[in-house]
């Protein structure tokens, strides 16, 4: 697979043209919703002319279509923003561009990032890069697939409950969900503000390190950003690693467990101490997640009302304007989450659901913190299964939610978690292993992954 370094030193225009060509050749995957071809070529020509020396000078990338970008629309894969053109760019995009990176297009996602298969996109699902009958995963399915297909050396996405890690695992690429607050959320269509994170897809750990280093840091536009702590680190020897028992039960696909166990063997061979750890509270993580996150979704999606921008339905009254615009503009899963969120926030239920879930969330964080007093890293699968068949889960929302069971804990606790390719099943489906660390240990996780990658 291609690396960022493969694009450096060659003409930016040639890089962009090649990426666009590859993208168009692979259009049937439906990984890219729109191109910003004119702007990309203009920027590439400018970079070639001026010999820009940024760390990503002339390197093409793709952004999930919930990042506000110039040069094309920002749809969040929804009808309500189908024709929305952003008047400004997300901080993450600005930082990448400042280093000379060139956005060539926008990747498909589950509408408003609600989902784990990209089947909830208003513009059709993205196909898995390895097996076209299977889902790309989601919600950042398009970003994972363009990276896996070598269209671009990296792509960026958002991870609220697994939306980077799971598609990375399904397509056999690296996926980074950083510590909450590492990268500014400014200019990224909000899903659940308290767990939304911005991360990347790459084909190797070193590239992930570079992209995260560029995107990370305090942004005056986002009060929840942390002071810049991210910087590439050397791997620590003889780490204490905990393999999470609750993630290795009989419910988990056998081959997935095998690949994880093999990765654990490599950890041991590299001199790390791996022990089994238990985190019983994990059984509540999904319940907590599917209360807190829909609550925030119902709030964050209230602005899409057809009044100022986006789809506006023909209507005779104000109430009808709201009702029809939102009814036409959101997909089923958006509406389901808005309904759940509105319910758990409503008077009389707030204490029983939302507050209770937040209390349980605090307990979950405490349990993680206690483990991290002893362990450097926790390890387990990313997803209980490899990529499932298109349509297999799409009629059963609960089954779909259950697939998030291993990714939501790190989201709720704000901890960094990365998805690392760990081989394939017998039928050739990629399997990812998940490394979870204490807050701000992002660089240490990548250093560990990089070290083990060299051993492979």
């Amino acid at each position: 697979m291609t690396k960022i370094a493969d694009y450096q030193g060659s003409s930016a225009v040639a890089n962009v043209k090649k990426a666009l060509e590859e993208a168009k050749k692979n259009e049937h995957y439906n990984a890219i919703l729109s191109f910003c071809e004119a702007r990309a070529l203009e920027r590439a020509a400018e970079i070639d002319r001026s010999n820009v020396t940024g760390r990503l000078a002339g390197v093409p990338f793709v952004a999930k279509d919930n990042f506000l970008t110039y040069g094309t629309k920002t749809t969040a894969a929804s009808h309500i923003l189908e024709n929305f053109e952003a008047p400004l760019q997300a901080t993450a995009i600005e930082r990448l561009e400042a280093e000379g990176a060139i956005c060539i297009g926008k990747a498909n996602l589950d509408a408003f990032a609600h989902g784990g298969s990209t089947e909830n996109s208003a513009f059709g699902p993205t196909l898995n890069a390895v097996d076209e009958t299977r889902v790309a995963g989601g919600s950042s399915g398009g970003s994972a697939v363009v990276t896996a297909l070598d269209i671009v050396p990296f792509a960026i996405g958002t991870d609220t409950g697994g939306s980077i890690r799971q598609p990375a695992s399904f397509n056999g690429v690296y996926g980074v969900k950083p510590t909450y607050g590492t990268v500014s959320r400014y200019g990224v269509v909000a899903m659940a503000s308290s767990t939304d994170t911005i991360g990347c897809f790459t084909t190797n750990a070193a590239d992930a390190e570079l992209v995260m280093d560029i995107m990370a840091g305090r942004d005056p536009h986002d009060m929840t950003t942390l002071p810049d702590f991210f910087g590439p680190e050397a791997v620590k020897r003889q780490q204490k690693i905990g393999i999470i028992r609750e993630f290795m039960t009989d419910d988990v696909d056998g081959e997935v467990k095998e690949r994880v166990s093999e990765y654990v063997s490599r950890m041991k061979a590299a001199g790390h101490n791996v022990e089994e750890v238990s985190l019983p509270i994990l059984k509540y993580a999904l319940a907590i997640y599917y209360i807190v996150v829909p609550a925030e979704i119902s709030s964050n999606l209230a602005r899409y009302d057809g009044v100022r921008y986006g789809r506006r339905a023909q209507s005779a009254t104000l109430t009808e304007l709201y009702g029809k615009s939102r009814s036409e503009g959101f997909v089923r899963e958006n509406k389901r989450r808005i309904m759940i969120g509105s319910y758990v926030l409503s008077s009389g239920y707030f204490d029983a659901y939302y507050l209770q879930a937040q209390k349980a969330r605090t307990l979950l964080i405490q349990a993680f913190n206690e483990l991290f007093d002893t362990y450097d890293v926790l390890v387990g699968p990313v997803s209980p299964t490899p990529a499932f068949k298109l349509g297999e889960n799409s009629s059963d929302p609960v089954k779909m939610y259950l697939a998030d069971v291993m990714t939501v804990p790190a989201s709720l606790s704000g901890m960094p978690a990365i998805s690392v390719p760990a081989g394939k099943t017998a039928t050739g489906l990629p399997v990812g292993v998940q490394l979870i660390g204490q807050r701000r240990s992002d660089a240490a996780l990548l250093a560990l992954a990089k070290d083990l990658e060299a051993d492979a």
């Binding site: 919930n66 990042f67 506000l68 920002t74 969040a76 923003l81 929305f84 952003a86 008047p87 400004l88 997300a90 959320r185 400014y186 200019g187 990224v188 269509v189 909000a190 659940a192 503000s193 308290s194 005056p220 536009h221 986002d222 009060m223 929840t224 609550a295 925030e296 119902s298 709030s299 999606l301 209230a302 602005r303 899409y304 009302d305 009044v307 100022r308 921008y309 104000l318 709201y322 509105s342 926030l345 409503s346 008077s347 707030f350 939302y354």
Partner: protein, 475 residues
């Protein structure tokens, strides 16, 4: 006949005098701006926008709290209040439902009759204002200039029991907030708006009646009139044996009436939720003390300070109506003593228009000129009438009172020889002959006529006391 008592609690929205909005860098001054011209993408509710808290708003809120003797929370939070309306771009208002910054407090409110009533403050929360809708028959237009303006909502306890108390509370709150620099306090532009909650029950009843909330009153007088009207309306209903329903009512200032807007049954579920985009506001006791230490003096300070001047309440009130006057008089009191301060205080109280239209006639707040003017009066260099004339000039220019008096030829002549010459002239005048003989016959009153003649001849400049003395010597 049953005697009824009213119970009033007031919610007051105060626009904070920040340069930018509560969560965006847009200009917070929407006056005289064309619609939607001071709107940032954050105020517009664009996708991906995040609130960035204006720390000045927090400082002003702390100061506002301290101006009401309130406790300030060391940790407070923002929450989202959800409802759909075109003037609310995000579909939620950011407010403080669960953990407000300003906690319980109390203020003493001076009444017209010289007594005072204590009104407790339940809490005050910081929140953003919404935009404005204008309706044009077939369509409506949205102006978001005001969207995101920082407000504090001060919630009183139901401690008022008359329209006069309600009005006095509103006025005192306005004074304290403007003195503290929390708000520009421009009532006409809605810088302070009052929601008056009023209920009526038989006197001595242990349970309060159902309350009506009169929304959006923007003058002290309308607070008083609305409370008067509501009391009569509710008493009339109770007398007829009818029930009072809990509802929101509007006030029509021209008609002097309230009318129903919506009842409790229509109340929305706002689905309050802590705002995950804004970290908690943490204020240490040191930070709070520092802000408090830098606060300007408030009306109670001046009332106390002026007690030694023995001013009428009306004089005190006209001075307090303008912070600049209050500061000036206090300065004069410090540097020149009570007597001179009192003289200047009276000039300001009677000489300067106190209505809003012409309030800012004074631009000169340098104490020295006023002190010198008062001293000139004490030294008989100016008559009180002439002093008033000099004062009026002094208000707006930077000449010395002596320069003004000289330019206007107002200085009293106290040179005995000069006045003596005029006195002789008047006494010798045949027109004065009758008065002279009357005086000699023992009619003391006519001396006034003679002094008047001397003043006329001297064009008002003769020192009248000296003139009288010289007349007496001669007759």
């Amino acid at each position: 006949m049953t005697e009824y008592e009213m119970t009033i609690g007031i919610e007051c929205h105060v626009q904070l005098a920040t340069r930018t909005k509560l969560f965006s860098p847009a200009d917070n001054d929407a006056r005289h701006k064309s619609p939607n011209s001071v709107v940032d993408p954050v105020d517009f509710g664009l996708p991906g926008m995040l609130p960035v808290l204006n720390t000045r708003a927090i400082e002003l809120a702390v100061i506002a709290g301290k101006a009401m003797n309130a406790k300030i929370a060391n940790v407070s939070r923002f929450d989202r209040k959800h409802y759909f309306y075109p003037d609310l771009p995000n579909g939620y208002q950011i407010t403080q439902m669960y953990h407000p910054t300003i906690l319980e407090g109390a203020i003493d409110v001076p009444m017209e009759n010289g007594q005072s009533v204590t009104v407790r403050i339940h809490h005050a929360h910081i929140e953003m204002d919404a935009g404005k809708l204008s309706h044009y028959g077939e369509y409506s237009l949205v102006d978001l200039n005001r969207a995101g303006t920082p407000l504090i909502e001060i919630v009183s306890e139901p401690d008022m029991h008359s329209p006069q108390e309600a009005k006095a509370y509103a006025a005192e709150l306005h004074k304290r907030m403007t003195y503290a620099g929390v708000t520009f306090g421009d009532l006409y532009h809605g810088n302070m708006r009052f929601d008056v909650n009023i209920s009526v029950a038989p006197k001595g009843a242990t349970q309060l009646g159902k309350r009506a909330e009169i929304k959006n009153l923007n003058s002290f007088r309308s607070v008083e009139r609305a409370a008067e009207y509501e009391f009569k309306r509710q008493v009339a209903l109770l007398e007829k044996g009818e029930k009072i329903i809990q509802e929101t009512r509007g006030w029509d200032d021209a008609k002097g009436k309230t009318s129903s807007q919506r009842s409790k049954e229509d109340a929305q579920d706002y689905r309050y939720m802590p705002d995950p985009d804004i970290p908690p506001i943490v204020l240490t006791n040191e930070q709070i003390a520092e802000l408090q230490a830098d606060m300007p003096k408030l009306p109670p300070y001046y009332r106390e300070k002026w007690s030694s001047l023995a001013l009428d309440k009306s004089v005190t009130d006209s001075l307090l109506a303008h912070q600049s006057y209050a500061v000036l008089i206090a300065n004069i009191q410090d540097s020149a003593g009570d007597a001179i301060a009192k003289r200047v205080a009276h000039w300001f109280a009677s000489g300067v228009a106190t209505d809003e239209e012409t309030a800012e006639v004074a631009s000169n707040f340098v104490p020295e000129g006023y002190i010198e003017l008062a001293k000139m009066v004490d030294a008989d260099e100016l008559s009180s009438t002439a002093a008033k004339e000099v004062f009026n000039e002094l208000l707006t220019n930077n000449k010395t009172p002596r320069e003004i008096a000289e330019a206007k030829n107002l200085l009293q002549v106290s040179d005995e020889d000069a006045i003596a010459a005029i006195v002789d002239e008047v006494l010798d005048d045949p027109a004065s002959a009758k008065a002279v003989s009357d005086f000699r016959a023992g009619n003391e009153k006519v001396i006034g006529f003679l002094v008047g003649q001397i003043m006329k001849k001297s064009q008002g400049k003769a020192n009248p006391a000296l003139a009288q003395k010289l007349i007496r010597e001669r007759l």
